[in-house]
């Protein structure tokens, strides 16, 4: 859920962009971390541990803890808690450890 009113802070209206999460179209604010956009849309499970298979969400929000690794535009292991959202991004739940795209 997004805050509309706050006693101290103003949140400048950013540009709304469309991206996909596992094929589903979602909306977020350009430049905010992908994880913030997902959270605002109610997505809390960002991946499953490749070891235990258990659900993982975000934890530190500063790119330190690796809890939030996802595949973004084909690139695996992207820390979505710090990666800025861009128009048209393809965000996917990562399967396993991920493979680097070879071009």
């Amino acid at each position: 859920m997004r805050l509309k009113e706050h006693p101290i802070l103003d949140f400048p209206a950013g540009r709304e962009v469309v991206f996909t999460f596992d094929g589903k179209e979602l909306r977020g604010i350009e430049g905010e971390p992908i994880a913030a956009a997902l959270h605002a849309s109610g997505v809390r499970v960002l991946r499953h541990s490749p070891v235990s298979g258990r659900a993982r969400g975000f934890f530190c929000a500063i790119g330190n803890c690796s809890s939030c690794l996802m595949t973004v535009d084909g690139m695996p292991n992207v820390r979505v808690c710090t990666e800025p959202l861009k128009e048209g991004m393809v965000v996917e739940t990562q399967k396993g450890h991920g493979h680097l795209p070879i071009d």
Binding site: M1, R2, L3, H6, P7, I8, L9, F11, I29, E32, P33, A36, H39, A40, R44, V45, L46, S49, R54, A55, R56, G57, F58, F59, C60, A61, I62, G63, N64, C65, C81, T82
Partner: protein
């Protein structure tokens, strides 16, 4: 202040007098001191804006007036960047991570596209701290968030973490973030604290009690519940040895468990640089052994702010400035009046660390300071 030039060269070996890692309050103060002393300064931060932890501190700061007490944390970074902008000898690289320091004296930086090598004559590590974790059943469920993360999500991006939060930890961070959650319209189920009394300042706790939030001292969390994300938690009372007492278990309805159980200094680059490290619980973990000028056992390397021991922004600004002045001085440069300023800063630091809350920090600092206060 110049914007760093962008180039795709991989092996760019740039020489600089002082490299400052981290642009939180400590790094900003260090860079400004170097700028004033006239040495070439490179300030590096992984974020795209200055401030470190300050970017989410919406409350008015406690501490001493010289260190901007009474100002909201979010307003402090620009006080520094406005001054830094006047110095052509300062270069800032945002979105850049300092990832390694080698025996050759090279510091490796990376941004989205490149690796770069820097050859700094001195290095000041002001990388801050990271959140501590806590052991309980299902602690890996989505919805168990660090307090810093909750603050970032809510105060920087305007997204609330959930509907009902249980806060673990009643230090200043736990108390302040709880209050900020309420300001954002989120329910706070309780603040849970294992110690018999709260760790933070009474003013912050009083605001929460007025808002009707229970502060449960001598309590801990035993388990989180839920399949794919948090739907509740079990808490229990603890005895004097901090052991849960059977029969006191209680269910709490919440969709977020927020951990505010302390921070741990970020010291990776200091390990790389071979600095002598010491485990000092009062300072949050492994910290560099230092002299009173914040120099580590490696004569080229200084530490400042939470990287030298978890404390607060006021002292981070002071240790940052001390490190900056000292690093420049070791290269033969100093601004007029630098020695008097250094003495003043050391007195400020002693004042910040006086009083009952400063006792623990002071003990830690004594333990982390090299024998006799100066390196041989």
């Amino acid at each position: 202040m110049r914007q760093a030039e962008t180039t795709r060269t991989v092996n760019l070996l740039k020489e600089v007098d002082v490299a400052v890692i981290g642009a939180g309050p400590a790094g900003l103060a260090a860079a400004l001191a170097c700028a004033e002393a006239g040495v070439s300064t490179l300030l590096i931060d992984a974020n795209d804006a200055p401030g470190g932890q300050l970017v989410k501190q919406t409350h008015k700061f406690f501490g001493s007036e010289r260190q901007h007490a009474g100002t909201r944390g979010i307003q402090i970074p620009s006080l520094f960047t406005e001054k830094l902008a006047n110095y052509p000898n300062v270069e800032i690289m945002w979105n850049t991570n300092a990832s390694g320091f080698y025996d050759s004296g090279e510091l490796v930086l990376e941004d989205e596209k490149r690796f770069m090598k820097i050859l700094p004559k001195r290095m000041i590590v002001a990388a801050g701290a990271s959140e501590r974790f806590l052991i309980f059943r299902n602690n890996d469920l989505p919805g168990v968030y660090g307090a810093g993360a909750v603050q970032t999500l809510m105060n920087v991006y305007g997204v609330v973490p959930g509907d009902r939060v249980m806060m673990i930890g009643s230090g200043n961070i736990g108390l302040i973030v709880s209050y900020q959650l309420i300001q954002a319209g989120v329910d706070v189920a309780a603040v849970v604290e294992a110690a018999p009394c709260i760790g933070g300042y009474l003013v912050h706790a009083a605001k929460l009690r007025r808002a009707g939030v229970p502060i449960l001292t001598s309590h801990t969390v035993l388990a989180a519940h839920g399949q794919e994300s948090v739907t509740g938690a079990t808490i229990a009372e603890v005895d004097k040895e901090w052991q849960p007492m059977p029969g006191t278990e209680r269910e709490v309805e919440c969709d977020v468990i927020c951990l505010a159980v302390g921070l741990m200094p970020l010291v990776d680059v200091l390990w790389h640089a071979g600095c002598e490290m010491k485990y000092v619980p009062e300072l949050g973990g492994h910290v560099p052994v230092r002299d009173e000028n914040m120099r580590t056992s490696n004569p080229k390397v200084y530490a400042a702010g939470d990287s030298g021991g978890v404390e607060e922004a006021s002292s981070a600004m002071v240790t940052g400035e001390i490190a900056g002045i000292s690093a420049a001085k070791s290269l033969g440069h100093q601004a007029p009046g630098a020695d008097a300023r250094l003495a003043q800063l050391k007195a400020d630091l002693a004042a910040i660390r006086s009083g009952p809350t400063g006792e623990k920090i002071s003990a830690g600092v004594r333990c982390a300071t090299v024998c006799g206060g100066v390196w041989e």
